[in-house]
Structures are given as structure tokens and as C-alpha cells.
């Protein structure tokens, strides 16, 4: 096949289309035929381009907003029997577009390097990733009121699995609990208050604190699930902590991903965050069986990321960035915007849509965009 001919068109046609032609055309095609195909494609491509003035923004908003009414509110979704619960449907879309700080089901997909991705030792690794709290590696914890102490009996099996020694555990307890002494006593670990403050109340408080104490693993990851995805094994987690996970040696950092766009923008940068918003929205829409073109989602993702940080589509995010006072006022909290504008003597240049609707003027979009420029006798141009 004639690579050079294809190259000639690389400026004129999108790469994706060229690749498709390359794949679909028989390899022994003659140059003239290929040229004919390319020319025809180019001709068709030019008729299919967006026309200037097209209000792609509103069309995009409609294309995402309209199917929103058809989505189910069902929060939980089963993607197969042994998978994890994930927020889906409308609530998830709202969550992504709001760019909310605390997701209802944060998640990570951890891809692994060999040999772990073949499934070898994946369970142990998964257990190590998971954040372990003290209550998970003990058999029993009780308050002994008689000699005002807390007695803990440990779960050996669990501790072996996590490679935690008694000593380590005790030192952790010692460090995190102030005002108490931790001692080993045969099978038991006994925690006693150091000072005079030995009221039962404080003992119980300490007990609850001990139960939730961080022992090992990665903070924030509450659940792990090794799954086979295609040919390899990956770990799906509930809760995210990209920063720590990506630093781990066993992890394939190039593919490991979280579903929290804000976290991604912090750690991997804004382009990655844009991709994340795009993929997450697309995932939800695909699961619902709705048909929305990627271009619309792309536009939304771009608008959210244009300022260099991920901004939600809320009155504090994207909308507050608008230059027009009236456009902001027509969305939410009009008084605030009008008063702030009057304090700083803002000028509204009326170059978006709502302001011109308010004033009964032609909107500068579509047919309203072209302007007539006239030259007067002196040769000056006037609109």
C-alpha cells in the first residue's frame, strides 16, 4: 500500500479515518484506486464537518440532559455476581458532573505486573493492600472493669496472613494511644490507663478507638476483590488512594486507575482528569443502554477542565467563571451576582445567549453570528 499517498492526506483527514481506510482496504490496491477512495472520503468528510456557528454546547447539553430523564435512579448495580457495588445511573452522572469531593463509592482498578497478574499470590497481595484495622486481627476485645483494663486476644491466622507480628502491633498501639500502657500478658494484650483517669467511660472510649486503629495496608482502601479481567488478574478496591498504590512496585502504574476525577487531576494532571471524566460518564451511559455520542461527553469534560483544575457544573464551578453578569444571574443567586457586579462596576458585553434573550436581541450563535460590515465613503469599516 502506498504510505506516501496516505501521508498526503494526513493534514486533510482525521487520523482515525485514515487508519480505518488502511485497515479496510485490500493490501494490493492500486495507487489510483486508493487515491479515488481517499478523494471520495475527503469529499464526504468535508460535507460532514461542523458548520461555523453551530451551537455545539447546547446540543451537547441536550444530548446528555435528555437521556438523563430516562436513567434509573437505582443506586446499586450488579455487574455480575461477585462484583462490587457501584453507584450507577443518574446519581453517578450527577456526582461526576458536580465533581463532588466525596464519592459515594470510590473505586480503583489495580493492574499488576507479572507474576501477580497471572493470579499467583494475588490474594496475599490484595490483603496487604487493604487497610486493616485492629478489630480485624483480634478475636476478642473486652473491658475488664474489675482491674480497669482492656483485654485483647489476637487472631493469629489473620495476623500471619498480613505479616504482622505481635510486637509491631503493640508498638502501634502504644504510639497511637496516649495515656495508656500496653503490656503483653500470655495470650492477651492488656491495655491499662497510666494516670488516675480510669473511669469506665474513658475505658470504653479507648476500646472503640482501639477497634478502629489503623494497623497495616493502604489508608482509604476498605475492600479488595481480585478479579479476572480478560487474560489477567486485577484487583478491584473500594476506596481509593492512587498516590500510594502507584508507588508500589508490584503495580502496573500505567494502567491502574481510580474513579475519582479530582484525585486523578491531583496526581496525574488535568489531561488525565479530563479523560477520567469522559470515561466515567461514558461508562454510566453505556451501562444504561443509552446511545450518546462521545463528542458531547468530550465537550462537557473539556469545559470542566478548561481552567486547569476540574470544576463541577455548579454555581460555584463552571457557571461562576462566566464573564457575563446577566448570564450568571440568570442561573442561580441573582442578587449576589448583581450586587457584586455593581460594587466593582462590571461591564457586561452581551456576547453570550441569555443576555441577548433578555434584551430581545439576536443571539450571537448560528444564524445570529454573522455580521454585516459596511465601508463608508471614507473607507472606514463599520458594523
Amino acid at each position: 500500500m502506498d504510505e506516501e499517498l496516505l501521508k498526503e492526506y494526513s493534514e486533510l483527514l482525521p487520523q482515525k479515518v485514515l487508519d480505518e481506510i488502511k485497515d479496510a482496504v485490500p493490501s494490493n490496491i492500486s495507487k489510483s484506486k486508493l487515491k479515488e477512495i481517499l478523494d471520495k472520503t475527503l469529499e464526504e468528510y468535508n460535507t460532514m464537518k461542523v458548520s461555523p456557528g453551530e451551537c455545539v454546547g447546547l446540543v451537547g447539553a441536550e444530548s446528555i440532559g435528555e437521556p438523563g430523564t430516562q436513567m434509573t435512579l437505582n443506586t446499586f448495580h450488579f455487574a455480575g455476581v461477585s462484583e462490587m457495588n457501584v453507584t450507577m445511573g443518574l446519581p453517578r452522572i450527577i456526582e461526576i458532573l458536580d465533581c463532588s469531593k466525596s464519592l459515594s463509592t470510590p473505586m480503583m482498578e489495580i493492574y499488576l505486573k507479572s507474576p501477580l497478574n497471572k493470579g499467583k499470590g494475588i490474594k496475599e497481595f490484595a490483603e496487604n493492600v487493604k487497610e486493616t484495622k485492629l478489630r480485624e486481627c483480634i478475636k476478642e476485645i473486652s473491658v475488664n472493669i474489675g482491674n480497669s483494663s482492656i483485654e485483647i486476644s489476637l487472631d493469629k491466622e489473620k495476623m500471619d496472613l498480613l505479616h504482622i507480628t505481635r510486637k509491631k502491633l503493640i508498638s502501634i498501639m502504644d504510639a497511637s494511644l496516649k495515656g495508656f500502657t500496653v503490656k503483653e500478658n500470655d495470650e492477651l494484650i492488656v491495655v491499662k490507663p497510666r494516670g488516675k483517669d480510669d473511669t469506665v467511660n474513658s475505658l470504653f472510649k479507648a476500646k472503640e478507638k482501639l477497634k478502629e486503629m489503623y494497623v497495616s495496608g493502604i489508608k482509604g482502601i476498605t475492600q479488595v476483590l481480585p478479579v479476572k479481567k480478560g487474560e489477567e488478574y486485577i484487583i478491584i478496591t473500594a476506596g481509593t488512594n492512587l498516590k500510594v498504590v502507584l508507588e508500589m512496585e508490584e503495580v502496573d502504574a500505567t494502567r491502574t486507575i481510580s474513579n475519582d476525577s479530582l484525585e486523578i487531576s491531583e496526581i496525574l494532571g488535568i489531561e488525565a482528569a479530563r479523560e477520567s471524566v469522559l470515561n466515567e460518564v461514558k461508562k454510566v451511559i453505556d451501562v444504561q443502554g443509552l446511545n450518546v455520542d462521545v463528542r458531547h461527553i468530550m465537550l462537557v469534560a473539556d469545559i470542566m477542565c478548561i481552567s486547569g483544575a476540574v470544576k463541577g457544573i455548579t454555581r460555584y464551578g463552571v457557571v461562576s467563571e462566566k464573564s457575563s453578569v446577566l448570564a450568571r444571574a440568570s442561573f442561580e443567586t441573582p442578587l449576589k451576582h448583581i450586587i457584586n457586579a455593581s460594587i466593582s462596576g462590571e461591564r457586561d458585553h452581551l456576547n453570550s445567549v441569555v443576555e441577548n434573550v433578555m434584551l430581545n436581541q439576536v443571539i450571537p450563535i448560528g444564524c445570529g453570528m454573522p455580521k454585516l460590515v459596511l465601508e463608508n465613503e471614507k473607507g472606514e469599516k463599520a458594523k
Binding site: 447546547l58 437505582n74 458532573l97 442561573f331 441573582p334 460594587i343
Partner: protein, 867 residues
């Protein structure tokens, strides 16, 4: 023709605050008394309804501009406040200013050398991140300032200022009066104001303490005359009355030298009234109320929220020449037509300019008058005066008529109308149709265009608008016609297609039918196909041949029908490979996959190859053909359609009991404690999952049993297989078993402690105690099953009710954020201010509504070249 039209355009709007000077200057009256009218009911001079402020009564003339009612737009007045009062909306600004400036000299508490640095910083930030970034930086500077306690200029000590909400300031626990505040704000130099983001030309800090109050013109607070002749004043008038009354009393008390306490009380009261005059929803204040107890609607409430001025009156417009009524289907009108009742056609009119050439034509309408169709209702003189046509004035009007006039004639067939159904969620919710005046009282539309409007005929109402100017008509015709909207910009496929009966009909026709040539011709003619030249000249014509008559002669297409499986033998048997060659349907049946909306490329290819007009014509014919076929064959479904043989019934029972047994076994293992959990799950969760899986499997098996063993050629099955309505699962629920009822993806477990209903034992985990319905709709449900069904039914009702407002709000936010994003002439995507959002739209510049399902179909081009 006519006088030259001057178009003026607003270029920009500057916001600012009225200074006391301007308030006084623009006022046309000083208001001194709270009285409204004298004994004769005539507005009092210097009262709130002073006729210098505008007129709201017919017959009176405005003393300021001399114009009458509706011509005078009203004029402001003012009152002088006895003591200054803080404007509520500027309290936070006043607070920061007081905290950050010196109490003695009024300078900002930043050393001189640093001010320049800060202002430079701020300017840079504004250049980069816009005004909101500037505000954010300012905030951080201000918070840093609050700790300074010594003025770098006059070295005086600063005191701690606190704000007791809403409007009282304290300095070291001592109250600061508005007089003092105003004095301090006055001292702040203009240059320092700029640091706070205040533009001193638009707003001087001391203006936030009111010394005089502008009185809005009466035209913005008109009074209503009740039936009893009593006058009912606007809320704002009431509030202003309160303000003036208190102000008056304060004046009197001050002049009389009343004790300080009384004056302060009155002062506070004045502050309260003025605060609520601006905003009656202040958190810390009790809202001012009517005597009846309902809160007054003051200025803030007039502007705010969905019913406020901005969203209700400014961003939302009202129109004349619109109609609304119930819709009903009529497949015999074209897709881009709308049937309009004669009654409505006589109310809605189209203005038509009179010229030498159409004068006689228009006179005919006037002659018929407003009461006979097609007549005319008004004529409009060149100066814009409207004149009604009645039986009496008819003759005279006809005499008067000459070029330059226009006649508002009744709607005629072929006029342009814009048709709309709420909620208007996407642009195809509002399309342009051609008028077709019909008898009876509903709007008629072709069922094929139901999909874009999301309309059905269970009582839906729709709106109709008649564009009144040439520009509007042209724009509607070019941009909004149904035919220009065939391809959805959401996914690049057709959104208009055959539905329901049309699909069943075409399916039957292309799958089973053979007609005599006469019958075939009859069918095609009633579908309004007049060109029968392609109908084969033989005794018996197959359905496929009849269908082919509608197709363009050189149309070739390959596609898949609904039941396409990929298995060659099965597909051949079911006839699911659609091949059209040179306008002949060679193999394949026509069903939703190719005729329906949003699926398949057949309609998409019509548009591509033959253009929009041809496509809707073909589509209309296909639709009518489908319906005519059904009319000819008859198509009714009864309960017998779901009959299944006894041995299959038995097999269903066996499948069910097998599943029940398996579940029981699982529960038994669980009770023994030998059940193994999935990783990351508790034992109970695993059990639930496994039970659900097993029961689903059983149900699916029943579904396939049912669809295999029902009679194939009944109406119900045909509807399901052609995709016209219903699916095999619905059928299984009718004939086999309804299946598991699920709440939030789980079996039902709500209700009593440990059980769902009191007729079950505690801890019963069996299918029937947890919402599995083994009965079918035909045989009926048991009471507990029925109740489970009601539970999920209610859940889904709630789901819809909760979802609508949520998704509506999401949509509004999206639309607001993205409405001004457009493609520029350089093919970049930009927002209103010109910030580039994308360099190429969607990374390849393709317009989705011009693509085929979002793609450029390379394969087709290659095939056409290589062939």
C-alpha cells in the same frame, strides 16, 4: 415599501450603585406622607401614589411627562431619611471595609510600599483567571489584614469590630451607629477602594449607608381595584408606607428632643423596615407580614428564583398566536404536517402584506369575514393601527385596502407552524410542520413523529405557534422542519421511524404475505404510492415485491433484522439477513431494526442518498403501507395467544420446583454453617447472590420455554418478534412465571422483623417468602405474590417521581454552563468570551447529526470504489 427601519442595539451594560446625588437628581417628587388617596380617591400630592411618579389609572395624565396610562413608564421619587440606615445587601462589604481600614484616617492597613505590590498582583491575577480569581485573592489578602491592629500611617490603635447579624456593628462591644460608619467609609480614599475590588466611579463605600431612599415609580407597584370597588395596594406600597410612617415619627421625635432610647428604637425599626423592603427573607429577621399573615413580597423576592423577574420574565418570553389542545394520531397526513381544527385555524392568523398583485386575492378573505373559514380577522394599516373586520365594517375595510396594508387572514393548508410538546428536552421537541386544516377539535400528527416529541395519545396536549414575520417563517422552515431534523444530533441515526402497527404490518407483509396483483395495487394506492411501474406483472405478488415498490430504484442496502443471530442456517430460516439490491428487497424481513427510530442504517442511508424530502415521503408511505396491510389482514390479540401446551406447563412447574429445591439445599447448607463466601463478601450476601442467580436462571429458562412453545403466528408473538411492542420477557410473565421482585437489586426483605409478611415464618429465606412470584399474570397471583408485585410497582413509581426533578436540575445546569459554546469560523470551539475550549470539535470536526451513527462510513466508500 414603508418607512426606513432603524435598528438600535445594546452593546453593553454597566452595573453600578446609585449615589445619593443621582437619586435626588432622577427623582421627580419628594415623598412626605404615607397617605395614598384623598377623600375623592384622587392621589395625594407628596404621597406614595403621587401622579408625578406615573399613572396607573385610566384618564389621568402623568404630571412629569404628560403621558397617559401605558405610555408613561413611571418616574422615581425619593424620601429623606431622618437618620442614615445601612443597606442590607452591602453589609458584608461594609464589614470588610471597616475591618481593613484605619478607624482614624481611613487608609488601608497595608504599609505604603506594599499596596503597589498587591494591586499589581491583583491585576495580574485578574488577567489570568478573571474576576472570580481576583476576588479569591482579595479574600486571602483581607483575612491577613484582619490581624493588623496598628495603622501604618497614623499609628492609631485599631479596635475589634464585630457584626451582629443582620445589620448592627459593634466596636469593642460598643455599638457603632450608621452615622459613624458612614463617616468612616467617607474617609477611605479612592485609590484604596480599588484594592478591595471596588470601582469608586461605580460605588463609593459610603453609599452603602443610605441617607435618602429612592421610591420606585407607581407603575412597578400598581394597585388592583377589586370587584367591590375597594383598592388593594401592592406589597411594595405597603412596605414603603411603613418606611415613611416610621421615618416621619423619627423626624418628629428628633425635633421634639425625645429621649435617646426612643429615638434609637425608632431608628432600629426604620432599619428593620428598610432591610425588609430590600429583602424579606433575611435569616435573622422575622419577615414583614400582611395583616392576613402571609409574608410580603419585596424587591429581592421579585427578582429571585424561578418565578422571579429574571427567570420568569426576562429569560422567558410569552407569545401570541399560539394554541394548545389534545393530540390524536392520523397516519394519513404527512410526517411534516400537523392537523389543526378549523376552530383554531380561524383564531390564529397569518399577516399577509397587500400588493397590487394579491389585492383581489386578499379581498376575498375580508369578504368572508372572521366567522367563515377561510376569512380574515384584522387588517393592519401601514402606521401599525389594527382594525377589526366585522360584518358591519367589511365593506368599508375592503374599500380602504391598498398596498402597504396587511391582512391577518386565517390559517390555510401549507402555512408554517411550530409544534411543541413539553418537556422540551432536546431541539426536536419543537419542530416546524405544515398546516393542514381538519375538522374536529384535536391536533393531528403522524404517529411516526411521536418519538422525537416523546408523545403518546393518552391525553397528551401540545402547543402550536404561528410565526408572524417573513424572517421567522424562513428560519423555521430552513432550520426546524421535520425533514431537517431526521437525524438526531445525539447519536447520528434517524429519530423518526415507524412505530407499532406500521412495524407489525411491514413485518407481516415482508414475511408471510402473497397478494393478487389487484390487491397489491389497492394496498399501494391506499398507502399513496402512485408509481406502480415496479410492481411485477404476475398473478401473485409477494409481500417483499410490494414493499420494494416503495424503495428508490437504485437503492442497495445490506443489514440485519431484529432476530439476527450470526448463525447462517438460523438466519436463513428466520429470514433475518436484509438485502436490498437496486430497489428490490431480495431477502430479509422489515422490522424495528431497520424501520424503527434510533436503530439501523436503512433510514440513515435514505437520507444520505436521496435527501430529506424523499426520505420522509418514503417513510410516510412505508408507514401507511404497514397500516393498510394490517387493515387488510386483521390483527387482534386475545388471551389465547399466550396458551401453551399442558406438557410445557408441566415442564415449567418442574423447572420451578427444581430451582426451589436447589435454593432450599443452599439454605440448608447455609444453616449448617458450611456455606462458603465469595471473597470480599459476607456469607449472607453470597447466599443471596447465589439464590438470585439460581432463580434468574430458572426464569430465563421458562422465558425461552414459553417463547418456543407458544403459537408462532398469533398477533402477540408477531408484535414481540417484529419489535413493534413487547418482548419475550413480557410474554413469559404472562404465560410462564412473573419472576423475582427486586428492591434495590436485592430480594425483598423489608417488612416485619425477620420476615416480609406476617404469613411467613421468621427467618424464612425461601423464594416465595422473599418476593419470588411463581404464578403468571394469566393464571393469577397469590395474595402474597400480588403484594410483592405492588411493592416493586410502588418503588418504581417513586423512582420516577424522584428522578424527574433531579435530572431536570442537572439538565438546567448543563444547559446554563454550555449554552454559549459554539464553533467559530476558524473551526475552534469557543465560549462567549472567546476562550478556546476545543481546537477541533470532537477531535475530528465531525458534526454528529451529519454522521452515520457517529462515524464516517469508510467501508461504504471503499465498496463503491472497488465495485
Amino acid at each position: 415599501m414603508g418607512e426606513p427601519v432603524i435598528h438600535k442595539q445594546v452593546n453593553s451594560i454597566v452595573f453600578g450603585v446609585l449615589s445619593p446625588k443621582i437619586i435626588k437628581k432622577m427623582a421627580s417628587a419628594k415623598i412626605v406622607t404615607p397617605e395614598l388617596y384623598d377623600k375623592e380617591g384622587y392621589p395625594v400630592d407628596g404621597g406614595l401614589m403621587d401622579i408625578r411618579l406615573g399613572v396607573i389609572d385610566p384618564g389621568l395624565t402623568c404630571k412629569t411627562c404628560g403621558a397617559k396610562l401605558k405610555e408613561c413608564i413611571g418616574h422615581f421619587g425619593y424620601i429623606e431619611l431622618a437618620r442614615p440606615v445601612i443597606h442590607f445587601n452591602f453589609v458584608s462589604t461594609v464589614m470588610t471595609l471597616l475591618k481593613c481600614t484605619c478607624r482614624e484616617c481611613g487608609r488601608v492597613l497595608i504599609p505604603n510600599n506594599k499596596t503597589d505590590l498587591f494591586s499589581k498582583q491583583l491585576e495580574e491575577i485578574e488577567k489570568e483567571g478573571g474576576i472570580s480569581a481576583r476576588r479569591a485573592r482579595l479574600k486571602s489578602i483581607v483575612t491577613a489584614l484582619k490581624t493588623t491592629n496598628k495603622c501604618p500611617f497614623c499609628k492609631s490603635r485599631q479596635q475589634k469590630i464585630t457584626l451582629e447579624k443582620p445589620t448592627t456593628f459593634y466596636e469593642n462591644e460598643k455599638r457603632v451607629t450608621p452615622i459613624e460608619i458612614r463617616a468612616r467609609l467617607e474617609k477611605i480614599p479612592d485609590d484604596d477602594c480599588k484594592l478591595f475590588g471596588i470601582n469608586p466611579a461605580a460605588f463609593r463605600p459610603e453609599w452603602s449607608v443610605l441617607t435618602i431612599l429612592p421610591i420606585p415609580p407607581v407603575t412597578m407597584r400598581p394597585s388592583i381595584t377589586l370587584e367591590s370597588g375597594e383598592r388593594s395596594e401592592d406589597d411594595l406600597t405597603h412596605k414603603l408606607g411603613d418606611i415613611i410612617r416610621i421615618n416621619q415619627r423619627l423626624f418628629e421625635n428628633i425635633n421634639a428632643g425625645a429621649p435617646e432610647i426612643i429615638i434609637e428604637d425608632l431608628w432600629d425599626l426604620l432599619q428593620y423596615h428598610i432591610t425588609t423592603f430590600f429583602d424579606n427573607d433575611v435569616a435573622q429577621l422575622p419577615p414583614a407580614r400582611h395583616r392576613s399573615g402571609q409574608p410580603l413580597k419585596t424587591i429581592a423576592a421579585r427578582i429571585k428564583s424561578k418565578e422571579g423577574r429574571i427567570r420568569h420574565n426576562l429569560a422567558g418570553k410569552r407569545t401570541n398566536f399560539s394554541a394548545r389542545t389534545v393530540i390524536s394520531p392520523d397516519p394519513m397526513i404527512d410526517l411534516d404536517e400537523v392537523g389543526i381544527p378549523t376552530e383554531i385555524a380561524m383564531k390564529l392568523t397569518v399577516p399577509e402584506k397587500v400588493t397590487e398583485w394579491n389585492k383581489e386575492y386578499l379581498k376575498k378573505f375580508i369578504e368572508k369575514g372572521p366567522k367563515t373559514y377561510p376569512g380574515a380577522n384584522y387588517i393592519v394599516r401601514p402606521d401599525g393601527k389594527k382594525k377589526k373586520i366585522t360584518d358591519e365594517t367589511k365593506e368599508q375595510v375592503m374599500e380602504e385596502l391598498q398596498p402597504g396594508y396587511s391582512v391577518e387572514r386565517h390559517l390555510l393548508d401549507g402555512d408554517i407552524a411550530i409544534f411543541n410538546r413539553q418537556p422540551s428536552l432536546h431541539r426536536v421537541s419543537m419542530m416546524c410542520h405544515r398546516v393542514r386544516v381538519l375538522p374536529n377539535k384535536t391536533f393531528r400528527l403522524n404517529p411516526a413523529v411521536c418519538a422525537p416529541y416523546n408523545a403518546d395519545f393518552d391525553g397528551d396536549e401540545m402547543n402550536l405557534h404561528i410565526p408572524q414575520t417573513e424572517e421567522a417563517r424562513a428560519e423555521a422552515e430552513i432550520l426546524m422542519q421535520v425533514k431537517t431534523q431526521l437525524i438526531s444530533p445525539r447519536y447520528g441515526l434517524s429519530i423518526i421511524g415507524c412505530i407499532q402497527d406500521a412495524i407489525s404490518g411491514c413485518y407481516l407483509l415482508t414475511k408471510f404475505c402473497n397478494f393478487s396483483r389487484e390487491e397489491a395495487a389497492e394496498l399501494l394506492l391506499s398507502a399513496r404510492e402512485t408509481d406502480l411501474s415496479t410492481l411485477p406483472n404476475k398473478e401473485k405478488v409477494s409481500g417483499k415485491e410490494i414493499f420494494s415498490v416503495l424503495l428508490p430504484k437504485n437503492f442497495s442496502f445490506e443489514g440485519k433484522a431484529k432476530g439476527y443471530s450470526g448463525n447462517q442456517d438460523v438466519d436463513k430460516k428466520n429470514d433475518t439477513v436484509v438485502t436490498i439490491k437496486n430497489g428490490k428487497l431480495i431477502s430479509g424481513v422489515m422490522d424495528v431494526a431497520n424501520l424503527g427510530e434510533g436503530s439501523g442504517l436503512m433510514i440513515r442511508n435514505f437520507v444520505k442518498q436521496y435527501g430529506e424530502q424523499r426520505t420522509i415521503e418514503i417513510l410516510g408511505k412505508i408507514f401507511r403501507l404497514g397500516i393498510e396491510v394490517l387493515l387488510k389482514l386483521g390483527f387482534s390479540c386475545g388471551i389465547g395467544d399466550t396458551d401453551i401446551p399442558d406438557e410445557i406447563k408441566q415442564e415449567i412447574q418442574n423447572t420451578l420446583s427444581g430451582a426451589y429445591k436447589d435454593v432450599d439445599d443452599m439454605i440448608a447448607i447455609y444453616r449448617e454453617g458450611n456455606f462458603e463466601a465469595f471473597p470480599g463478601r459476607t456469607i449472607e450476601e453470597t447466599l443471596e447472590l447465589k439464590i438470585l442467580e439460581r432463580l434468574n436462571e430458572a426464569r430465563n429458562k421458562i422465558a425461552s420455554l414459553v417463547s418456543k412453545n407458544t403459537q408462532k403466528d398469533t398477533a402477540t408473538i408477531i408484535m414481540a418478534t417484529s419489535g413493534a411492542r413487547g418482548n419475550p420477557l413480557n410474554l413469559a410473565q404472562m404465560a410462564g412465571c412473573v419472576g423475582q421482585q427486586a428492591l434495590r437489586g436485592q430480594r425483598i426483605k423489608k417488612g416485619y422483623k425477620g420476615r416480609t409478611m406476617s404469613c411467613f415464618k421468621k427467618g424464612d429465606l425461601s423464594p416465595s417468602a422473599r418476593g419470588f412470584i411463581k404464578g403468571c399474570f394469566k393464571s393469577g397471583l397469590s395474595p402474597s405474590e400480588f403484594f410483592f408485585g405492588a411493592m416493586t410497582g410502588r418503588d418504581s413509581l417513586m423512582d420516577t417521581a424522584l428522578r424527574t426533578p433531579k435530572s431536570g436540575y442537572l439538565y438546567r445546569r448543563l444547559a446554563n454552563a454550555m449554552q454559549d459554546v459554539r464553533v467559530e469560523y476558524d473551526e475552534t470551539v469557543r465560549d462567549a468570551t472567546g476562550n478556546i475550549i476545543q481546537f477541533t470539535y470532537g477531535e475530528d470536526k465531525l458534526d454528529v447529526s451529519k454522521t452515520e451513527g457517529g462515524k464516517l462510513n469508510v467501508q461504504r466508500i471503499i465498496n463503491s470504489v472497488l465495485e
